[in-house]
Amino acid sequence: MAVTAGGYADVSALLLEAPGETVLRIAAEAVLAAGGGVIAETPASANALVLCGEMPERYDDLVERLWQQMPYPKTRVELSAVSTVSAAVDAGARRIRDLPAQRAAALREPVPVVAAMPAHDMSGMSGHDMSGMSGHDMSSMSGGADEHAGHDMSGMSGADEHAGHDMSSMSGHDMSSMSGGAGEHAGHDMSGMSGAGEHAGHDMSSMSGHDMSGMSGHDMSSMSGGAGEHAGHDMSSMSGHDMSSMSGGADEHAGHDMSSMSGHDMSSMSGGADEHAGHDMSSMSGHDMSSMSGHDMSSMSGHDMSGMSGHDHMNMAGPGGYPLAMGDDDRDGLEMDVLNRTLGPFLPEWDPRLLLHVVLAGDTVRSATVEIVAAPAVDPAAPVLRLDLAVRMLRLAGWPAVADRAARARDAAAAGESERARHDAVSARRSVARSIVLRWALRGLAVDGIPLRDVLLGALDDAARMLGGETPRTAPIVRTAAEIVELVTGRDLGTARLLVAAVHPDPADTGAPEPEPMDHSAMGHGDAAPAAEHSGMDHSGMNHGGMNHGGMNHGGMNHG
């Protein structure tokens, strides 16, 4: 071993695995563990950001955000091949200990104030999602911390034609992220979006076409109004439902309509005029925002942006400018908060090829859409990968002591020490098989009819068998995007994570939105340009269908 024992005892590494680079990540884990280092769960607790493989472009912003979230002292380590892992980690550990340099770097930056967690999974406010939108400028918005949020938005304004589109596409997920930033500026940038005055109308209209319709059932129709003229008027008509006032194209009225909308979400958005804007925004749910685009954005400033975020549910900005969760009826008929999040790609024990956009009610996955990112092929049937699956399941099941033994087996297998690996795998399997508590904790959980406990035992068993030169009895479970959705829907977060960890995403299925009505995910693709057609906008798909609330906006929001 190139490293003396204890060489990394002061290293806490946040391992980011590029899609398809599982083997590299395993090698990094082994090198760190051998030197006494630990694997961090969050950027807050890490001092080394270890990139295992080359990240796809769409993850770049996310990686940057995670880096920003890490407190000093910190270093970044980029790994490209198993053979050079030791040297790279070694160099990183030395940089962490170079305190004068660390102090100087820290002084150049303000004390980090970051959005909690989000970055970690794309979810956050932080704009990660934005990246998906790329192609549009949104991505830049993510900019992370509070300060910029808004700025980038301006970029969007760019082409007039899109205006409408982008907004729309963003609506779903990203809006939220924009908000992310601190409340302060947010607003400013927005204005940029408005882009050329002429379009304003257009966008509206364009959106209207799509989104509105989606919203249909509600009054959206009026919004389309495009030109400034109507703005105010429609509001009233919409009243029954939300959107009404949004149209707001003209600056003058803006405010008025709002009222009518009330009861529902959008109410104030219309706000076309800069003056009011602010207020209402908050109430508007995601969609509307889009429509507002032209004029109002500017006015919406600060407050609302965030609110727009989620689709509907999220309302006004909460602490730090995040969207607050909106209430919705839970299965038991009691009101429950609803949050939109994206799980992945960099959660601990998560396959980075997988992006799971979820609607959470409390900690229950209300609904989900899945994207599977294209990546170099990894053979999930290899003993090392079977053992890695067991390690991840055991860690998620909250049994680190046995997970460590399985990890030892995995690392030995990766190093070619089959006999030792087999011995450790058998030992880990024995613990799993014996545990009554684990049996009870996993009771009733199954993938494809196979109890989760058997998936775990099978992975350990088969790995041991293959290491001993025998043939495996089971095959790793591969699941398509739609099947993964089915797996997690209605589960609590912990259970959903365990179930997802038990399967491998099907590389042949990207979770493309076409067949499904809720293309939430459209945005994620980064080529969301034709957003209008995509359900992204589609109210029906996202809000209602997706969130299950048929009518929840109304109902839910009315309470307020």
Partner: protein, 312 residues
Amino acid sequence: MAEYLPLIVAALIPLAVPVLALAAAGLDAALTARARGTSVAVGAARPLREITRLLRQQRRTVLGADRLLWRIGGVGLIVASFLAVIVVPFGDTVAADLPIGVVWFNTIDVALWALWWMLGWGANGAYALIGGYRFLAQALAYELPLMFALTAPAVAAGSLNVGEVADAQSGLWFVVSMPIAALVYLVSVAAFSAWGPFSPAAGRDLAGGVLGELSGIDRLLVKAGRWCLLVAGSAFAVPMFFGGGAGPLLPEPVWVVIKTVLVLLVLVFAGRAIPAVPPQRLAEIGWVVLVPLTLLQLLITSIVSATGTGGM
């Protein structure tokens, strides 16, 4: 001199509890290194390295954090552990000889609900918040059994004073005469420390949950606080179930410390041997199994002590 002893004990508590906590963390880290197949010596020293690392780490904050509640939760755990130990008698000396010491301990334990939850809430992040709620779900399951488990020794001793509870075991330790209460108590200590099978509030599936957003000194205080709670729970078990300072040869305070260490060892090893219990399933056990069992224990204890007293 004698009148200063309680003060001396009180002053030693904030030193001794963290030392034992560090030892327990070192043991756990050494066992982790052994399971992982890496250097056990390096593993054992890991908590010390972690302390120096976190002391040097920048103190990060989170957008929109509820800083006041977050910090209270962060400092609170370790403070609560000290407060719990002040009613533990070391021989004849107690830092705070409260007539209602048992209730005092129970009060601290209830305060932990708020402290853990504030940690989750303060971070203004979804995972941390879910972690906070996981703790509450867990607390809902263990709290009633714990209260009944604490009641049993008090009923048997006819006192809520911890010293008198310890003295009442001169014949038979309560761990023998009321094993269910003792077991439920130990399980609850692991639970309120979010240790071992009761750690889903800080679960890896939540990317660290309530711990996830903590860095620097804040993280250090919370991680240390967890271990200190485990130590405090072990120390309080000694007068409640393990005969207090009773033991041959050695002076009573030494026996209290030895027994505390032994209970702590049991908690560390047992915590590692058992996988996480999903909080939502814990209520089932807590209310359907443990509450009736502890009530039964209490009934037996009450009958025995009532007839025992009547007989005299």
